[in-house]
Every structure is written in structure tokens, then in C-alpha cells.
């Protein structure tokens, strides 16, 4: 499918979505509240985006941005969905009931960025020690003991 078709399919479900085509793939910027709706649509709707191959988060010092890379094993088209989160208390719906791989990725993002995924089955630390303080991949993370600056 071409970007145009994708756009109108998405707009039909979510008019408020904005688009950015400068990058390699079509970027869909949405509001974090609508994410669940879009996700379900992408997965089950005409788009058939059944493969979430990258889920991560970026810390722009003012806000956080969730980045979901989706592709369809049927139509072979990719889109990137972005949702901006508040820096103070980031929250977004989980999608691990739609793409099961999201469960681990979301746990990782949770401990690395402190993003709180609502309705996640068990949102615990996956990689870091249980008593680890702070969110290491945020830009303002400081660890004077372990982190030796070059």
C-alpha cells in the first residue's frame, strides 16, 4: 500500500493524527490517549500491521516520545507511530495484548525511561537490579559511582 492509502485509512479512524514523510517511512504522530485505538486498527484493520519489530522511546529533554515501528508481513509496508508523553509522569496504554512481543519491550522501556504502561500484566524491572535508582537512558541520568565520564 502506498503512504496515501495508509494515511486515509488511519485518518478515517483518527482524524487528529498528523503525518511526517521526511524520513524513510511514513511517520504517524498521534496523541498518547488514542494509541490503543490506532493499534487495534493497525493490527486488525485493513492495514494488517501484524509485526511490531521495534518499540522504543526517545528522551527529548522536554518530553518523551514513544516510537513504534510497525510492518505488515502481508503487504510489506512499514509505518512509524509516535506518541509524545509528558516528561514528569509519562503514561501510555500497553499493547502487549495486541503484539505479545511488546510485553518485554515495554518492560525494558519502563525501567530505562520510567514510562508507565497502563494495564500491563506484570510491569517489573526486567534487566536492571530490582533496587536500581533512576532511569538510565534519560538524558538527565547521573550515576557518579559507576559512570566515569571520558
Amino acid at each position: 500500500m502506498s503512504n496515501e492509502e495508509i494515511k486515509e485509512i488511519i485518518s478515517s479512524t483518527l482524524p487528529s493524527a498528523t503525518y511526517d514523510e521526511t524520513g524513510e517511512w511514513l511517520n504517524v504522530i498521534i496523541d498518547s490517549k488514542d494509541w490503543k485505538k490506532i493499534a487495534a486498527e493497525c493490527r486488525n484493520g485493513a492495514l494488517q500491521m501484524d509485526f511490531l519489530f521495534c518499540l522504543t522511546c526517545v528522551d527529548w529533554k522536554t518530553h518523551l516520545t514513544m516510537v513504534y515501528h510497525l510492518t505488515s508481513t502481508k503487504h510489506r509496508h512499514n509505518i512509524v507511530v509516535k506518541a509524545n508523553l509528558d516528561h514528569a509522569m509519562p503514561e501510555i496504554e500497553t499493547v502487549c495484548d495486541i503484539w505479545r512481543t511488546a510485553e518485554f519491550h515495554e518492560r525494558e522501556v519502563f525501567e530505562m525511561f520510567g514510562v508507565n504502561f497502563l494495564n500491563h500484566p506484570d510491569l517489573r524491572k526486567l534487566i536492571l537490579e530490582d533496587d536500581f535508582k533512576g532511569f538510565p537512558l534519560r538524558k538527565d541520568f547521573e550515576d557518579p559511582i559507576n559512570m566515569i565520564k571520558l
Binding site: 517511512w25 519489530f53 522504543t56 526517545v58 528522551d59 512481543t101 530490582d130
Partner: protein
Amino acid sequence: MYNQTEIIKDTTNLGPEGELIINMGPQHPATHGVLHLVVTLNGETIKKIEPHLGYIHRSIEKMCESLTYRQFIYVTSRMDYLSSHINNLGCALLIEKGMQIEVPERAKYIRVILSELTRIASHELWLGAMAMDLGAFTPFFYTFREREMITEIMEETCGARLTMNYIVPGGLMYDIHPDFQKKVKAFIKQFKEKVTEFEDLVTNNIIFQSRTKGIGILSAEDAISFGCTGPVARASGVSCDIRKLYPYDVYDKVEFDEIIETAGDSFARYIVRVKEMNQSIRIIEQLIDCIPEGEFVGKTKNVLKLPKGEFYTRVETARGEFGVFIVSEGGTNPYRIKFRSPGFSNLSALNHMAAGSKIGDLMATMGTLDLVIPDIDR
């Protein structure tokens, strides 16, 4: 620095009647490296597996944010160290894509040949290690005999046996060794002779078959939903070979088959990898004789600056789709870098695959998942 009080908290607790909760790993011969599985047993039957990661989490993504684009490549060969060359290639490709660097043909050919050699080496090691998990020690030594030939070739050309840092943005660090082609041909010859050994020793062995057939089944839908890639997904009938779908370097010039099995059990995964080795040999045979003359590295500025924006490249490592996602502010080093590692997704399917089977089956399932823990933890 670490007194007794800092010993990490207990992860096991008394299960209900008849249940036994066992820690497998971090130090365990079968969890190559330091995977930590909390296995809930009922007698010999597995009820639940809960992976605990992070025992080799080296915060690579964080440290890459403070390395320049030339420097951060070498770190990636420490993630999936078995296909380190391919990881480096992925990063180099991204930088080249971002800065429109022209890569000379010669470099492309050599890169692809080395990638395939790396893939073979990785699969050889996996084969040996998996046989060892199933209790057969001897195949390990036979596979390493061939693998040693590859590492010799690597050593001669790249200067390192395992974590070679041979790729620089725009080409290669230096030209291949004069008798590179000769050695590779010799290797192909020996490999073709010896690969039949594993038919007798492993593939057709009744014990091996009964231990892998129908074990750890993963359906195609689950494979996609769990984001599995590489041999694991292909064994379940999902076509996901980046080399076919989004060809990079010269993969579009060569012809090879994407191996697809439909059974989705451990045996299928085994077969897929064994066949892939032959395909890799096929690719190398096509390329090895027609490496074009010319430069081995393109023209690049001394200081690399990636334009502002977001970039994503994927390459097919020995384990599946390895993706690099870089957010650039236009500076000399990435603003945010994320490695999408195949093992991470493949591991998340483990519980689904192994629950309800025996402990012995867990070994078969984990062995055929071919996990590399630093690749998962990063």
C-alpha cells in the same frame, strides 16, 4: 565493594503442593552465558518459565550516545559477538545511508562474503553447542574444526578472530589479504566434505530426532506476534529474511533460497540452520571469484556528522533481524541509539514454547532458539 548484605534478593519461594521452583542460570552450562530462568516444575514437567535478564547488561546504548560515529561501530561487535561482522555492517550501512556515502563495489562484495562466513561460523558453533546441550559432546569438536578455518580466514584479513572491527563507514578498514580467495575456496571444499558427518551423527540419530521432533512448537501466528525473526520464525513458516525482502549491499545480485520450514518445532529450526549454511556456501561461491578490483574504501570526511533526523537499518544476522535506530541531532555522535536485537524477541517466546514439556525438552528448545545473551541484554 560487595559485602554479603548486597547479595541480590531471593527469587524463589515455596510453590503450592508438588511444585518445585528452580533457578537455571546465571551460571549454568546450558544457558550459554548468563541467562537466568526461574522454572516452576511439577515433578519433571515445566509449568512456567520466567526469564530474568540483565546479568550481562552493559549499557551499550547509553555509552554509544557519547561515542562518535566512527567509534561506536566496534561496540556493536560485542553485542552479538557470534555475528559481530554483520552487526558492524548494519551500523556502517546506516551511516552510509544517512550521509549518502558511496561504497565501492569491491568493499560491498567483501562485506557480503565475510557476512556469510560469519553466519556459517555462528551456525557451526550453535550446532556444536546444541548437541552438547542434548548430551552429545563429540559434534562440538567436529564443528569447531571447520569454524577454526573460518576464524583463521578472519584473523588473516580482519586481524581478529571473533570481534573483528573491519568495517568503517564507507568501506573496509584495509584491503583483504592476498590469499583470501584461496583460503575461502579451501574452506568450502572441506566444508562440503564434512557437512555430511552431521547427517549420521546428529540429524538421522534416532535419539536426537525423538528429542527434537514436536518439541517447543511455535505456530506462525505466534512467531509473528512474538516478533520472532530469523531461523526461529522461518522454521514456523514465516518469510522474514531481510536479505530477500530488503536487500542490502550485493544480496540482490546473488541468488539463493530462503529456507522455510512449516513444522515450527525444534527439529525444523535445526534443519533450517543446517540448510542455511549450504545457502551461505552457495552465495560465497557466486561472489568469491568475481570480486571487482578497485578501492576498498570510499571517500569520507574525516569527522562524520549524521544529518538531523531518524534513521533505521536492518540486516539479517545469524539470529534474525538486527535493527539499528538512530536519532541524530546533527552532531558527531548519536542523540539516541537503539539496537533492535533478534534474541530479545525470540526469548520472549520461550515460556510459550516450553511450558508443559519436560526439563529435557527445555534444553532442546533453548538450544534451537540459539540465544546470545549479550545480544539480548545489550
